[in-house]
Amino acid sequence: MRNRLILSALTAAFLSVPPIAQAEVGNSPETLALAGILDNDTFDRAGLSIGHRAQYWMPVFDTLLYTAPDGKTMPNLATEWRFNGDGTELTLKLREGVKFTDGTPFNAEAVKANIEYLRDGVGQNTWMAGAVKSVEIVGPAELKLHLKEPDPGMLFNLATVGGAMASPATLGKADSKMLPVGSGPYIYDTARSVTGRQYVYKRNPDYWNAGAFPFETMTITPINDLSARMNALKSGQVDAGAGEGQVVTEAEASKLTVSRLPVDWLGLFLSDRDGKMVKALSDVRVRRALNMAFDEKAILKFVARGYGEVTDQPFVPPSEAFDPSLDGTYQYAPKAARALLAEAGYPNGFSVTMPDIGTLAPYTPIITQQLKDIGVTVNWVKVPPNVTIAELLSGKYPMFLFRLGSQSPWADFNKFAFANSPWNTSKAKDEKLEALLKKAQYTPPGKEQNAAMQAANRYMVENAFFAPWFRIDSIYISNAQVKVQMQAQNIVPWPRNYAPAK
């Protein structure tokens, strides 16, 4: 009797652990069930991200503009836009009759509040509003962004985090990190979502463009592990999720659809162009020799399984700075590379310290061997995964291998081309390049501006700022229930790129 009582008490104690929240909305034909690689970190307007995490906020926060799958900028909440002559004023006309789901009207005041909140906030993408000096309200449905200087990336920014619109009533509120309120195609279903487990979105009945979002419900389940993601896809728990090269064969054998599009590029950043740490790197002949030292075709084929395209430039199409004629500038030619090194005064090569990054470990022995073939010795320094970015940006390393995402060309130039750019880790200044960039910045948008950006790209390629290897395909896997269009300049598709297969 006593034993039974104890057993009953233990059972009751275990079962009485209160259910923290409900979750697990199952998949169905009316539901778009996505697997996310990363968990969402915040819904705070100032902390939103692009890349993988864009899928979490985009259902709720509509954007002023949007980028079509081919990268073209399209109207959305802003129906028209116009730059002034010198590119320092951007006039936006807004869609009328739109309301946030808390009843707050969407108008010029709401846009001003959102842009100023982002610009003055703390987050990874506050830079997207960094060029905005002030916001002038022309009328309820029209406003002007006064820029500190022309920002050729502004339209791309307004199509992503820079243009995301949250209800002004929620901006800065503590609970806005977990309870997003927007005017987008879906409403975040707090009752059925559990942070870290599953995020559930139900259709916004008042959305102005419901036809573009055919699913009644959308769920995103964070599944970090590739095998688990594949199992969830194969068993039908989720409709789509990011893949990797090593599972393409398995996915195809399981009758899943594999979509591919290059978004990132992989290559060496030859940062110490002033030769502060390794004098040899200040000589353009040495940097060109490094570009000729790697058999990128073989590396792409045998390590990256062929999912990509060999390149010599740090831009990925459809970036306006991309110039197809630059691919092929440097061919794999170790003998010629050794000759260039000798000509530069390094017949016996030189030594260089590089960071050994866990995620790029398969490439470490290849770099060691192929640089050794031209006489360059690499000393590797292990970098823990939690400090990788900070270590690379610290400027400690004269050169390093990294995989960088390509976005709008101006965002990319800002990442690595200016003296104060974060990925110009040695802060090397090049006045000729900055003059080319200034010209691109002050040229009105269009063919001339694209040509100016390509000229800046050409300068960087010819002066071997990098040793790019190849553009890497983003691999995305979906089941037979959905059709997916890949998104240019983002590693996963936007929520509007999905449709039922039937």
């Binding site: 079962l15 697990e24 870290g196 389940t221 688990a228 900070a390």
Partner: protein, 313 residues
């Protein structure tokens, strides 16, 4: 007994203080890159400095520690640096997930290893050898590998059970049970070997004792000798193994949580460690120590209940 328990609680509190202090000094001493991780590559040095200041990381380490302790003893583990929820909220949603998985696994392990261990000890011969081979085979198979095998068979091929995820008991008891079947099976199969071997050895030892011979001589039934007397004496060893298993599973759940995409303590710890979310790491450490201390006290209770010698000592 009460004095003994008070001593155990006091030593648990001392352990909690010691491990928390050491962990704090280790992890807070290496927070130089946290602000950069949070703000990303495009943040300026000024923005990084401002965030460091906002997080209080520009203060002396001892001041930070004092601040953390003063909040922690009031149950306030602070906000996460990288997630939208507080540390307490993150732990409250993840701990039941891991605890339910591990508790059920250990309960199943106890039941199965007791059956196997007793059968092997009592029957001997081919049954003993067969059980030993099966248990050692389970031990040799890593739980993540078993997990993958189970998912491929029962989720992908047969479609009987969910491949990934976790459902709260309150949302649907049947879906909750279904979401735990495969991860628990993987944990049980790979952990059953040591417990069953321990029980087998302890029962064999107990059955060789003089008092067992006396009981048999007095005509006590073999069933009563085994279950009422020998098993009770064998229990402390088995309980110790199971408590060690529980603690090991609690710490090692990260692997199986990853295979089944279960959002528990393991996955929380890994993601917090990778990005340097120190408040979450501290919360995890404190919570796990409390659970470990409570499990040890519970085991002491069970030992005392099962074996009068323990109560006497």
């Amino acid at each position: 007994m009460i004095r003994y328990l008070l001593k155990r609680v006091a030593s648990g509190i001392a352990l909690l203080c010691l491990v928390s202090t050491v962990t704090f000094m280790m992890v807070f001493g290496a927070t130089g890159n946290v602000a950069r991780n949070i703000l990303g590559e495009n943040a300026t040095a000024e923005q990084v400095t401002a965030l460091n200041s906002r997080l209080g990381l520009d203060r002396p380490l001892m001041v930070q520690f004092g601040d953390w302790v003063s909040h922690a003893i009031r149950g306030d583990l602070g906000p996460s640096w990288t997630m939208s929820e507080s540390v307490a909220s993150a732990l409250a949603s993840r701990l039941p997930v891991t605890l339910s998985m591990v508790t059920i696994a250990v309960a199943m392990m106890a039941l199965l290893s007791a059956m196997l261990g007793i059968a092997a000890a009592v029957r001997g011969g081919w049954a003993d050898r067969a059980i030993q081979i099966v248990s050692v085979a389970g031990f040799a198979m890593p739980n993540f590998w078993l997990g993958l095998l189970l998912v491929l068979t029962f989720s992908v091929q047969l479609g009987w059970l969910p491949a990934t995820g976790y459902v709260s008991f309150g949302a649907s008891p049947s879906a909750w049970a279904a979401s735990l079947v495969l991860p628990v099976t993987a944990l049980v199969l790979s952990g059953i070997a040591s417990a069953s071997q321990q029980i087998r050895g302890a029962v064999i030892d107990a059955l060789k004792q003089d008092y067992v011979r006396t009981l048999r001589a007095r005509g006590v039934s073999p069933r009563s000798v085994l279950y009422r007397h020998a098993l009770r004496n064998a229990m402390p060893a088995a309980l110790t193994v199971l408590s060690v298993q529980f603690i090991a599973l609690l710490g090692g759940a990260a692997v199986i949580e990853r295979v089944f995409a279960i959002p528990g303590m393991g996955s929380l710890t890994v993601s917090a460690a990778l990005i340097g979310d120190v408040p979450v790491l501290m919360g995890v450490v404190v919570t796990l120590i409390i659970v470990v201390v409570l499990v040890n006290i519970l085991i002491d209770f069970l030992n005392a209940w099962a074996n009068p010698k323990v109560r006497m000592s």
